[in-house]
């Protein structure tokens, strides 16, 4: 065993190591750029879907905004409460839990229920169809049915049913609102979980018109308004509207009285049950 060789080796490599560690430590002092280490920590805790549901261009941007105090800690709609809690720990504050939002499909005019106005040919997206008279369904207010909302959902929380209507899978919906953005007809709406009563129609046509257009259109008969009581619901432009500020969370309303079955009480269940028949 040649010990000199070993010593030389230790000395040379050790020397190299020393030189560079000295260099690095000097550099570490002289060249250090301050950056909040919490940004990285927050990013760790985010789900990383980069869905934009928070209104910022991505998870990293959201993290920076949280650190800068420009965004709510619970502002990420996707993050679990547990996750938000962890971020809060990083930030050293309490989280305010907001009520869960769920997307609702406010139309029941599927292929089966609505009148057709012709044959649509062209781009099979809802927004594309708006440039050519809005698809082949006659209703100018209802769902076009080319699934823009479904495509836009980053969490696979939607699908199109056989009747050509979108369906939200409640458990998967995070309330990010992408589908609301995507829908050119404003059929998708975000509602707090506590909203139970819905008028599943957007048609503003006169009763005469709407009867001709869809078997599941609100025909503006006003029965529901009368049953619900003044102030709780009202008719606006031939359409019944629920006043959610004071009503709609715990309604006791005989929904079957609605002649076209647009009135629905939706719990957590999939809206499809209401729409497919």
């Amino acid at each position: 065993m040649d010990f000199t060789a070993i010593i030389i080796a230790m000395a040379s490599l050790g020397g190299l190591g020393m030189i560079f560690s000295v260099g690095l430590s000097i550099a570490n002092k002289k060249l250090h750029v301050e950056e909040d280490p919490r940004i990285a920590e927050v990013i760790e805790e985010l789900p990383g879907a980069n869905c934009g549901g928070c209104g910022l261009p991505g998870c990293a941007a959201f993290a920076e905004a949280v650190i800068a105090g420009e965004a709510e800690i619970s502002g990420c709609p996707v993050n679990s409460d547990e996750g938000s809690q962890l971020i809060a720990e990083i930030m050293g504050v309490e989280v305010t839990t907001s009520e869960r939002l769920i997307a609702r499909v406010i139309c029941q005019g599927g292929d089966y229920e609505t009148a057709k106005k012709g044959v649509y040919q062209g781009v099979k997206t809802c927004i594309g169809a708006t440039f050519a008279g809005g698809g082949d369904k006659l209703c100018s207010y209802g769902c076009i049915g080319y699934s823009d909302c479904v495509e836009s959902c980053p969490f696979d929380a939607m699908y199109m049913n056989d009747n050509g209507l979108p369906v939200v899978i409640n458990d998967k919906c995070t309330g990010c609102g992408n589908c609301v953005e995507a829908c050119p007809r404003d059929i998708m709406e975000l509602h707090p979980e506590s909203h139970k009563l819905f008028v599943l129609c957007k048609n503003l046509d006169s009763p005469k018109e709407s009867r001709k257009i869809c078997t599941r259109a609100c025909v503006g008969c006003g029965i529901c308004v009368r049953l619900a009581g003044e102030g709780n619901m009202e008719m606006q432009d031939n359409l019944a509207v629920v006043n959610y500020d004071i009503y709609g969370s715990d309604p006791v309303l005989p929904t079957e009285k609605c002649p076209t079955d647009v009135l629905a009480i939706l719990g957590g269940q999939v809206i499809e049950e209401k729409q497919s028949a």
Binding site: A5, I6, A9, M10, G14, M18, L24, N28
Partner: protein, 196 residues
């Protein structure tokens, strides 16, 4: 310990340990590696030179001549050297065994090459040729080197200094001839200078 010292100490200690460890390992492995290298060399020389007992090394100009000897024979049995040159893709290095007058190749062995598999690699062996997988390197056995080694294509060589090119790898074949021709020239001049 503050951070800076810690950084320096940790890295220095680590590298020292690593250096020591490796040097120790070097002591164990390098003799074996060296032995293997020598073994390989000896084997290659043995393959290209006729029977011999030992060889002398003559170094010059970056080339080593191995002169094969038998103890009871004053004349060396022949000469071996490594010829290196460019092939189709990269360097080809060939161990050449040659007669002392440099007129006749005894045999060659290709030590390294980077030719295209299946094409240029036929200079080493040709698995598709069932009769003689080594037909190409075997062509060099007892090949006459004067005036120089020539390559012919698609026909059987007519002259004693000709070899037949590999179909589809003319470049590699020609490169072999060139490397040998150049190497022989160089070895010859070294031999004449140093040995004679």
């Amino acid at each position: 310990m503050n951070l800076t010292t810690k950084m320096i100490v940790v890295l220095t200690v680590l590298t020292m340990v690593a250096g020591g460890l490796l040097s120790y390992w070097d002591g164990i492995t390098s003799p074996r590696i060296e032995a293997y290298r020598l073994e390989q060399l000896k084997q290659a020389i043995a393959e290209v030179l006729p029977d011999h007992e030992s060889y002398d090394e003559v170094k010059a100009d970056g080339m080593i001549l191995y002169i094969g000897k038998n103890s009871n024979d004053p004349e060396p049995v022949g000469l071996a050297f490594e010829a290196i040159g460019n092939g189709f893709q990269g360097k080809i290095s060939i161990m050449v065994g040659i007669s002392l007058d440099f007129k006749k190749i005894n045999a060659i062995k290709i030590l390294e090459q980077l030719e295209t598999p299946g094409l240029g690699t036929k200079i080493v062996e040709d698995p598709s040729n069932k009769e003689d997988r080594f037909w190409f390197p075997n062509q060099f056995k007892n090949l006459i080197t004067e005036p120089q080694i020539d390559v012919v294509k698609n026909i059987k060589p007519g002259k004693p200094n000709e070899i037949q090119a590999i179909t589809g790898a003319t470049i590699s074949s020609v490169a072999m001839a060139t490397i040998l021709n150049d190497g022989i020239q160089k070895a010859k001049s070294i031999y004449q200078l140093k040995v004679q």
